[in-house]
């Protein structure tokens, strides 16, 4: 069987499932649904299943991409439906198809941030947010394997727009770099917290909406 690709969402309580646990959860769900994953050959065989862009804990997504190989031939819709009835709350397969495009062609991500302001007037914050992201450089301290280092996140944000999301809530709509380099949206919050505390939210959470190729066509 060729490589299957599925697009799934991870929302609600499932956003707290870590990347590693998600891999395991998916494997079990596939087996509960009555399918069997193909294993790699070799001394230390491992199941052929991978996720394009690991999602950090706490972030939700409507556009996760997972590739896998099964031992049997399946109909895409049947696979999707059976898998959906075997998944925990908050994970839903949206579409299953044969993988054609290379995962390495993923470039941009559309994310939606929910910025919560407990006791500030959102209408006053809004223009300042827009102004903040008009800067040339937005340096943030970022933890990496080699310790703390400073990165400029500005070039990784292709566009960002803010709108009111009701009482105390600002919605951020951003197009950010998904790969080479990868921007973790939490750094957007971190930038506000360190550089401009008066407009930093009390809490922010992000959701992935869509993945794109370099030419801004949706990745499938």
């Amino acid at each position: 069987m060729n490589k299957l690709r599925m697009r799934f969402s991870k929302t609600g309580r499932a956003v707290y499932i870590s990347h590693l646990d998600l891999m395991h959860t998916m494997q079990r769900a596939i087996s509960r649904a009555g399918f069997s994953l193909k294993y790699s050959e070799g001394y230390n065989p491992h199941p052929q299943i991978s996720i394009a862009l690991p999602l950090s804990v706490g972030m939700s997504s409507r556009c996760e991409i997972m590739d896998l190989r099964l031992n049997e031939e399946v109909s895409f819709d049947d696979f999707r439906d059976r898998l959906n009835s075997s998944l925990p709350e908050g994970i839903e397969v949206l579409e299953v198809y044969e993988a054609e495009e290379k995962v390495s062609s993923v470039k941009w991500l559309r994310v939606r941030g929910t910025l919560e302001y407990d006791d500030r007037d959102v209408l006053q914050v809004l223009p300042k947010l827009t102004e903040f992201f008009e800067r040339e450089n937005i340096p943030v301290m970022k933890k990496s394997k080699r310790g703390l280092s400073e990165t400029d996140i500005r070039p990784m944000i292709r566009e960002i727009r803010f709108s009111s999301g009701g009482e105390g809530i600002v919605i951020a709509d951003a197009l950010i770099s998904a790969a080479e380099p990868t921007l973790n949206p939490d750094l957007i919050t971190a930038a506000l917290v360190t550089i401009c505390p008066p407009i930093a939210p009390d809490f922010a959470s992000y959701e992935r909406m869509e993945v794109f190729k370099p030419d801004m066509e949706a990745f499938r």
């Binding site: 707290y16 499932i17 870590s18 646990d21 079990r28 509960r32 804990v57 925990p88 709350e89």
Partner: protein, 611 residues
């Protein structure tokens, strides 16, 4: 999701253990049920979700359509701090609703070191700790589990205890509570009626009196409560509820697998082993039932391993056939089979070879005592010859790690017995030299000791525990006796054992100590990360109780014991006879060779013991 929770979760380790939402969780409409049960496990999610009893009772309670039973676990330290800071009460995983809104709070207490966590979970829920501080009928606080065979230390906190197996009893109680809620009974009315159900112990219906020397004088029942509470069991395990669709954790837990229970009870009668007595009589499941349930559970969970549980798996008569039946399904699907609790005999090696074709994990022996005389005294029917024969077979079959478990401080133990442990390890090492095919891989022999804890309802229930100093002396003796480089010696320190010994044989006054420890910050005491010996010792002092009176005092056989009010089905005279035999280093036959009429068979109505 609660807004506070949403803000806390990104900051704590492994947040998915605090969210619920796992596959196979049971969700009901809270408006459509009459009784909401918060099933609390006084330890972490990872431990609680590995507990088969918890999984069974979650399903049996939810099988009542007027009940919605949800799971509650104790948060780890970081989450605990965050919840306190945010002013968040303890909540149930399925609905996220605060525990204080529930009608019944049911604890499963499997070990004494969880006592402070029980108090912590009540406190985090905003529920008064002591039964007398809770006036209304609801919420009713109940507890079951093996630590409740001596209910006294927790008696002031718990409205009613469920003694024995909960599959049927829990639902009897919930049905009664259902009626009580509808008809508006008082708490007292409910408790008096509840005490009439077999297995239910309502401590407030028993007056405790003490002698001048601090020992218990009597427990006097009133309002028609029985003089002794006889434990409940489930007679037919094949017909007993077993969930083949347990909740599948979305994160790693301790035992992440399907657990099949082969039988309850144990035929061996080791004198130090509480479990061997309190789970009698012996009832087995048929292999067909187990194979069917195992396959169904793998299909419904996607687990990659089935574990066969019992107190002594080698004693399951159809073990070989059961393994064959399960392997037939498991092997082609790469599902593993695990058999903890095998005895040290050749048969076990055959079974191990069968199930571990690829991966050879270590061999584990619970030898317990260092000499044949001592093993006879504790009725542990393992000979040096058994161990060496098994090792020989295993070494020639390619195994090269052996773990040996012993207890120090068993009644009648002498220094000679301790040196015997070192001698046995040398013999095993020699055995490896003679039998190992490939010596380049080396051998690892690990000896572990823990400090013996005399437990209620076992033949050693009257014994003194050795002191911590004495334990350390014995540890050092063993340490200096072990000479070989390939033998590694690990010893558990005795601090937790001393406290556990005091708690397990405590009376009702112990509650003050437990509460004091809790008030001084004690929780999750089963974890070395949190256990504080000092905190416990300080609490004994400030409550005016002598720790050693409970831990290291030998009790005269005529003394009234705090757990005499609980009848686990085994006659006290049998325990006494076993204790006397121990002092003569006399073996007792196992139940299969000859039934010693312990009394537990009387709990069965339609069949004999071990039939």
């Amino acid at each position: 999701m609660d807004k506070r929770l949403k803000r806390i979760l990104p900051r704590v380790q492994k947040p998915s253990r605090y969210t619920g939402g796992e596959y196979n969780q049971i969700i009901k409409d809270k408006e459509a049920v009459d009784l909401r049960v918060a099933f609390c496990f006084p330890d972490t999610y990872e431990i609680g979700m590995s507990n088969l009893g918890m999984s069974i009772l979650y399903h049996t309670m939810n099988s009542l359509d007027f009940v919605w039973c949800e799971r509650v676990f104790a948060p780890w330290g970081d989450m605990y701090e965050e919840m306190k800071k945010a002013g968040m009460p303890l909540y149930a995983l399925e609905s996220g609703d605060p525990v204080s809104e529930f009608d019944a709070i049911a604890f499963s207490i499997g070990y004494e070191m969880a006592y402070t966590t029980v108090l912590d979970m009540l406190d985090m829920s905003g529920i008064p700790l002591r039964s007398e501080g809770r006036d209304g009928l609801l919420p009713i606080v109940m507890a079951g589990g093996s630590a409740c065979v001596n209910a006294e230390p927790m008696a002031p906190f718990i409205d009613l205890f469920l003694i024995g197996e909960g599959e049927e009893m829990d639902n009897d109680i919930l049905s009664l509570l259902h009626t009580a809620k509808h008809e508006g009974w008082s708490k007292k009315e409910f408790l008096i009626k509840a005490a009439q159900i077999q297995g239910v112990y309502v401590p407030s219906l028993y007056e405790a009196a003490y002698n001048d020397d601090g020992t218990v004088k009597a427990y006097t029942p009133r309002d028609g409560a029985p003089a002794r509470v006889l434990k409940r069991i489930v007679e037919d395990l094949d017909a007993a509820p077993y969930p083949t669709d347990p909740v599948v954790p979305s994160t790693e837990v301790v035992h992440d697998r399907v657990s099949l229970e082969l039988f309850r009870g144990c035929v061996r009668g080791c004198r130090f082993c509480q479990a061997g007595y309190i789970y009698r009589p012996i009832r087995s499941k048929k292999p067909d039932t187990l194979i069917r349930q195992g396959i169904e559970a793998v299909q419904n969970t996607g687990h990659e391993e089935i574990s066969l549980l019992s107190l002594s798996t080698s004693d399951y008569r159809p073990l070989s056939g059961l393994c064959d039946g399960l392997l037939e399904y498991c092997e082609p699907r790469s599902v593993g089979l695990a058999l903890p609790s095998l005895r040290a005999d050749n048969f076990s090696v055959e079974i191990m070879e069968k199930i571990q074709k690829v991966r050879k994990s270590g061999l584990t022996f619970a030898v317990e005592g260092g000499s044949q005389r001592l093993r006879d005294a504790i009725n542990k029917n393992v000979t040096e010859e058994d161990v060496l024969n098994t090792c020989a077979l295993a070494f020639s079959g390619g195994w090269n790690t052996v773990k040996l478990y012993y207890m120090l401080g068993l009644p009648t133990e002498t220094d000679e017995d301790i040196v015997g442990i070192a001698e046995m390890s040398e013999k095993i090492l020699h055995c490896w030299r003679v039998n190992a095919k490939n010596k380049n891989r080396g051998v690892r022999i690990t000896v572990s000791t823990s400090c013996f804890i005399p437990k209620p309802h076992s033949p050693f229930q009257w014994e003194a525990q050795i002191t911590q100093e004495e334990y350390l002396r014995r540890v050092n003796l063993l340490r200096s006796s072990i000479k070989a480089k390939n033998v590694v010696y690990n010893w558990h320190d005795a601090e937790t054992s001393v406290i556990e010994a005091a708690l397990s044989r405590g009376d009702r006054r112990m509650a003050d100590v437990i509460e004091t420890v809790f008030r001084n910050g004690g929780r999750l005491d089963a974890w070395t990360d949190y256990f504080s010996y000092e905190r416990w010792n300080d609490a004994f002092c400030s409550c005016g109780l002598d720790r050693d009176f409970y831990a290291s005092r030998e009790r005269p056989v005529e003394e009234v014991l705090p757990w005499d009010v609980i009848d686990v089905g085994v006659r006290k005279s049998l325990l006494l006879r076993e204790k006397e035999r121990a002092y003569r280093s006399e073996l007792s036959p196992d139940c299969r060779k000859s039934c010693s009429a312990c009394g537990a068979a009387a709990l069965l109505k339609g069949r004999g013991c071990d039939e």
